[in-house]
Structure formats: C-alpha cells, structure tokens
C-alpha cells in the first residue's frame, strides 16, 4: 500500500474537553498547526455555547443534549511525533499490491465495523479511524503512482504535504465559523487528506470507516478533500458505534474543494448506536464547471446535527444535495443547510427526506442565498417528511435570500402521515400491515437514493433502513 499502517489495539488516552486537551492535541504538530489550534481554542472559549435563543439552534438544545463536561477527548497513544511508527503490521506491509477490496490487515477492529466494511464492494482506497485516530490508510498502488494522495491528515500535516497548510481550516471551515468549528479546529486528533491530481479519475470510491468505541469519548475528525481540475472522485464516510448507556461525541469537519471541472461526490453514512452524538460541519466549494454532490444519511445515534454549506464559486458549478433520515425512539436529527450562489449561472438542487417514527424529531432548516450578481442561478430546495407515529415531530424551515433579479429558485416543504389509502391498497394485495408500512417508507426514502446511483451505497443504506424497520 502506498500509505499503509495498522495500529494495534492499544489503550487510547483521554483528556477532558479543555485547555490540556487542546495542548495535547497539538503535540508533535508543526508550529503553524499548533498556532492554528491555539487560536481556535481561544475562539472556542470566547464564543458562547449555542442556545435555543438563536435561530439556527432553536430546535436543538445542544448544551442540554450534550454533556461536554462528561466527555474526554480521545488522543492517539503516546501523542507526540511518529506516534504510529513501529505500529505498522507486517501483514499490512506484505499486502502492498493487493486490491483494496477486503478488510485485509484490519483484523483487530470491532466486529460491527468489520461487518460494515465487508459489505462494501471494491474501492480505490480505504481509511479506518477508531476514536478519532487513523489506524489504517491504504490506496490502490496504481493511483498512488499517478499522484493521488490518501493519508492520515495528521501525517499529511506533519509531512508538509502540499495543500494541507493552505487549505486546512482556512477557506472552507475556519475556526471563526462558530463554536463547534472552533472546537474541532482546536482538538481534532486525526482524519483524512485526499488529493486527486489534475485530470485523474477514480472509478471506485474511497471509503472512510469510523468507529467510536464507548460512552464518554469525544472523537474529533477532519476530512480534507482536494479534487484538482478535471479530476473525479467519490468519498464515502461511514461512522458506527456500539449502543451505549452514556454519550459519545463524534465531531466531524469536512472541507471539500472541487477545482474547475472536477466531479466530486461526498457521502456521509451516520449509523452510530444509541448514545451517539454526531456533530458535523461540512462545506463544499465548487469552482467553474465543477460538480460537487453530497448525500447525508442519518439513521443512528441519539442526536445528530449537520451544518452543510455548499458554495457555488464558479460559473457552471453544480451541486446536488441529498439527505435521508429515519428516526425512531427518541432520536433527534437536525440539518442546517445553505446553498450559497456566489457566481452566476450555477445550479444547486437540494432534496432532504425524512421518516420519523416513535418519539423522534427531525429538523430541517435550509436557505438558498443568491448573492449579488449571481444571475441565471438555478436553485431548488425540497424537504419532505413522513410521520409514522403520532408522537414524532418534523420541523421544516425552508428559506430564500435573493439579491439578483434573473434567477430561478424554488423551495418546498411537506410533513405528511402514512397514507391510509396506500396502506389499504397494499394490504388488498395480501401484504400485511407492517410490511405495507415498510414498503411505503422505503419507497418514500428510496427517491433520494435513486438520485445518487452509487453502487454499494444504495444497497447498504437500503439494508440498514430495512433492518431498522424490522426492529421498529
């Protein structure tokens, strides 16, 4: 493998969310990064915890839902430079030319994570992250020779790989963006750096498999993807955890750059167990004629909040923004999206659909911003919710902010119940009530998946939804 390395299952050290953790997080980092972390920590401390008095956090009382004092930041064993040196297993090194299709050397991983990885088809590369630490990063050898870089973000920063210092927490998600962007910028322990050179196409996706192991853990991960001019890449980011009695936090910052004419897909599959809290900031920057599509799937965890900002920076840029959530029990999902049309003649199309059962709650708050001068903008936003129980609640807040006069924009939101006539129709063909309900829900959510025909992802998500419907 071009970037091989497997950590043994050493005990992960932890620090409370505080200045000590911030200092620890930067141990072994180059000075520019330590300075950036310190600045971010100062910003984090200076900013108040978002409260429900602010419009953006009105329906998610994050201070109440998340007990930050009870969380400890997971750090890599030993902290300092080269913390993973000597940990690369011989097995991983010996498999240098093997296709990246199997879990391979990652045999020390939790069974749930291995199962999820085993379901995947062949990929161009794979990264495994356990409690915020990358334990495996492997890339197809031919792609590595063609200049594709897939690395632990920590290593990439230390090795001074091109693009990391200039693009990490600067243009996309700087610490100054808010309390949680600052927290992540200060405390991130590892993540992924993926750079695809000009004109290089990856036919198979690159996959990140993440695991958060236990309650009380706060894992902070960053993902930085740079697709140079005319390149093509898909990145699938899947996160799992066991069911937990307490809370574990997965903080995730995603920064994606699609340079001119590049085609990028980013897929997030949130499948944490009970007690999981997922807090993500995602920003996509699409330059001239670039296509930058995203899919956010939220099935697991107790609390999920995703802030997604798509910026259309060049003429001809295009972003399809898809979302799918299915809540039951007391799950709480909150999506805060924005489509920023900075350049003229760009296109964005958002479709978020959610099914909510039990006492679950779904919040969608989306805004299309057409900046001054962004003429010939095409921007659409649709949020649809299906309530499967009388106690479930969906809140949908679509919004437009238009400062140009020659644009086509629309937004729509619906909240509906399971259609009794549809259920009767299915039952009249011999299908039992529960199965009929499942079919309606799968069809409803399936519309989202059909818009991102990505082999493997559709099957995996469909299976996960079916499993959840069975146990519901």
């Amino acid at each position: 493998m071009a970037n091989g390395g497997v950590a043994t299952a050493e005990k992960v050290e932890r620090r409370a969310v505080g200045p000590a953790a911030a200092a620890e997080a930067g141990a072994g980092d180059p000075s520019w990064l330590r300075a950036r972390r310190e600045e971010a920590w100062a910003l984090y401390e200076a900013m108040p915890m978002p409260s429900t008095r602010s419009e953006e956090w009105r329906y998610t009382d994050v201070g109440r839902l998340l007990d930050f004092d009870g969380l400890a930041v997971a750090q890599a064993p030993g902290g300092g430079p080269g913390r993973r040196s000597g940990l690369a297993s011989e097995e991983a090194l010996a498999s240098e030319e093997a296709p990246v299709s199997h879990v391979g050397a990652a045999t020390g991983l939790p069974a749930e994570l291995r199962d999820a990885m085993a379901q995947d088809r062949e990929g161009a590369g794979r990264v495994v992250d356990v409690d915020g630490c990358v334990v495996l990063a492997e890339l197809d050898g031919e792609l590595a020779r063609r200049g594709v870089v897939l690395a632990s973000l920590r290593d990439a920063a230390r090795q001074g790989l091109e693009g990391v210092e200039s693009l990490l927490a600067t243009e996309a998600v700087p610490a100054s963006d808010g309390k949680f962007p600052a927290l992540n910028a200060a405390l991130w322990s590892d993540g992924v750096f993926l750079r695809v050179p000009r004109g290089v196409s990856l036919d198979l996706p690159v996959r990140l498999a993440r695991w958060v192991s236990s309650a009380g853990t706060a894992a902070f991960t960053r993902i930085l993807v740079v697709a140079e001019e005319g390149s093509r890449v898909s990145f699938v980011d899947e996160i799992l955890s066991p069911d937990m009695d307490g809370t574990a936090l997965a903080g995730t910052t995603v920064e994606i750059f699609a340079r001119g004419g590049a085609q990028v897909q980013y897929v997030s599959l949130q499948r944490m167990g009970r007690g999981g809290a997922y807090l993500a900031q995602q920003r996509t920057l699409a330059e001239r004629d670039a296509t930058l599509d995203t899919l956010n799937v939220a099935l697991g965890g107790s609390v999920g909040r995703v802030d997604l900002n798509a910026r259309l920076l060049g003429s001809g840029a295009n972003s399809d923004m898809l979302g799918l959530y299915f809540g039951d029990g007391d799950q709480h999902f909150d999506f805060n999206t924005s489509q920023d049309h900075v350049a003229p003649n760009a296109h964005s199309d958002l479709l978020y659909k959610g099914a909510l059962d039990g006492d679950s709650r779904g919040v969608f708050r989306g805004i299309i911003r057409v900046h001054e001068g962004a003429q010939q903008t095409d921007a659409y936003q649709t949020n649809r919710n299906l309530l499967m129980s009388e106690r479930a609640v969906a809140t949908s807040l679509p919004n437009l902010e238009i400062e140009a006069d020659d644009v086509r924009c629309s937004h729509g939101a619906t909240v509906g119940q399971l259609d009794a006539e549809a259920l009767f129709y299915l039952m009249s063909r011999g299908i039992g009530r529960r199965r009929a309900e499942r079919l309606v829900v799968l069809g409803f959510l399936g519309e989202v998946l059909s818009r991102l025909p990505m082999g493997g992802v559709v099957e995996k998500v469909t299976k996960a939804i079916e499993a959840k419907l069975r146990h519901g």
Partner: protein, 264 residues
C-alpha cells in the same frame, strides 16, 4: 346460467346475505340489505346509478377500513370474510380492481408484486427471484404488456388507462378466485376499455373457475365482457336480477324507472 365446463361444484363461492354497511362514523346505512350468490366461474354484473351503493359493496368486500358493516354476512369459500383483515382476504383469493388505484411513490410494480407473492409464503420461506421474474414476464406477455412497465413506480404519473392495466396485471399475477372490478371501466376511452376487457377475458379463459363481480355504471363494458347474471342496485339494495337482457333494458330505459319504484 351457463356453468363452465368441468365445473363440478355448484355451491356459491360468495354468499352475501342481508348485508348492511355505512361509512365509518356516519349515522345512515348505504347498503340496506344486499343478497347475492356467485358460483365458481360465473361473471356477475352489478349495475346502478351514482350513489346506489355498488362501489361501497366492492370496498366492503375488500375490507376498506373506511366502512363499517352493521349487519348481515358474507361467506367466501365457506369462511366469514368480514372477520378477516384486507390482506387475509386477498390471501384467501379475493382481488379488488380499484376504481381509483393509489400511487405508491418509489415502489416499483415488480417490487410490489414480489412482496405480495412473498406475503403468501410461510414464515422463513423465500420467494425464488428467478421464478418470480419468469412469472412476471410470462404474465406481461399474456397481456401484451411491455416488460419495462414493471419497473415503473406503482401508479406514479400513470394515465387512467395505465392505472387500469396495472390492476389487470396484478390480477394476472395474483390469480384470484374472485375478482371484484370496481368501476374499472369508468373514465376509460374505448381503446383502453377494450384492453381492460381483453385482459379480463384472457384471464377468465385461463382460469375458468375464477368468478368476476363487475361493478359498473354503464352497459358498454358488457359488450366486451359477457355476464352470466346482471343485477340492478338502487338505494343500497338489489332491486332486479336476471340475465344479460336486464342490461339491455337498462340501456334503453335508464335508471329512472327504478328510482321511481324505490321512491314510491
């Protein structure tokens, strides 16, 4: 009445007696004592003006939750149909072709039918997907349908004719013992009507034991599907029964005569 060849058992497959029913929560019965017996292989037409209760009868037979049975009984193959859930009725062999087929967004016809056939199997038994695919293709060929049709989402964006053809396809795959056609002919142009009638006739030829209850406002579908018996329903009850000639008399005279009778 003509008994199809080889039909030995002459006892009714469907026996409705004294059936009364209303819209759930409403104070007044729409069906005011319906009596009807259908034998295996027979086609019965139930004709009546708007508001006569003929569609209510179809929905009550299928078990629509919006209707409440207040009296009488329905025996189907010797079992109490009214005690069964809609899915159990279907599994026992009742099929209702809907007047207004419902859209199921995101669910393909093939997936829908596969699920319906799977539901008939015992727990733990899996429908063989290759067998299913073969059956589906064979059924679509029988009805002169394009196989691509099965990949479309159930009734989503369908024309009126396509919706009705979808009902016939479902009937062909599920092979019911009793098909209740609830105003399948309404809103169809003559070409679509012929296609639907051809489908029903094809299935009747294939399954001579299948009984059909054809609920319609108009005589014209009876030019294409020959009934063994015609019943006229007015005011929630059957007021006249006879052979095909009853439909022709209706065609000539309209429903006015019956209205006068029931009003008087």
């Amino acid at each position: 009445m003509n008994q199809p060849e080889g039909q030995m058992d002459d006892s009714p497959i469907l026996s409705i007696s004294g059936l009364t029913a209303r819209v759930a929560g409403e104070p007044i019965d729409i069906l005011k004592g319906v009596d009807l017996a259908v034998r295996p292989g027979e086609t019965h037409a139930i004709m009546g003006p708007n508001g006569s209760g003929k569609s209510t009868l179809a929905k009550v037979l299928a078990g629509h939750p919006g209707y409440e049975v207040t009296g009488g009984s329905v025996a189907f193959r010797g079992q109490d149909l009214l005690e069964m859930e809609p899915d159990e009725r279907a599994q026992t062999g009742v099929f209702m072709a809907f007047q207004y087929p419902v859209e199921i967004p995101g669910v393909s016809i093939a997936n829908f039918l596969r699920t319906a056939l799977q539901a008939r199997l015992a727990d733990g038994e899996e429908l063989d997907l290759f067998d299913f695919q073969e059956l589906l293709v064979e059924r679509m060929e029988l009805l002169d349908m394009d196989p691509a049709f099965a990949e479309r989402h159930v009734n989503e964006g369908f024309s009126g004719g396509e919706k009705k053809r979808n009902e016939i396809l479902q009937m062909a795959v599920l092979k019911p013992t009793l098909a209740v056609m609830d105003e399948t002919d309404s809103g169809l142009d003559i070409d679509a009507l012929k296609i639907v009638a051809h489908g029903v006739n094809t299935l009747k030829k294939e399954m001579p034991g299948m009984s059909v209850l054809l609920i319609t406002h108009y005589q014209r579908i009876l030019d294409h599907i020959a009934p063994d018996a015609v019943h006229v329903m007015v005011g929630g009850a059957i007021v006249q029964s006879g052979g095909p000639e009853v439909a022709l008399e209706l065609e000539a005279q309209g429903y006015e005569e019956y209205r006068a009778v029931t009003a008087g």
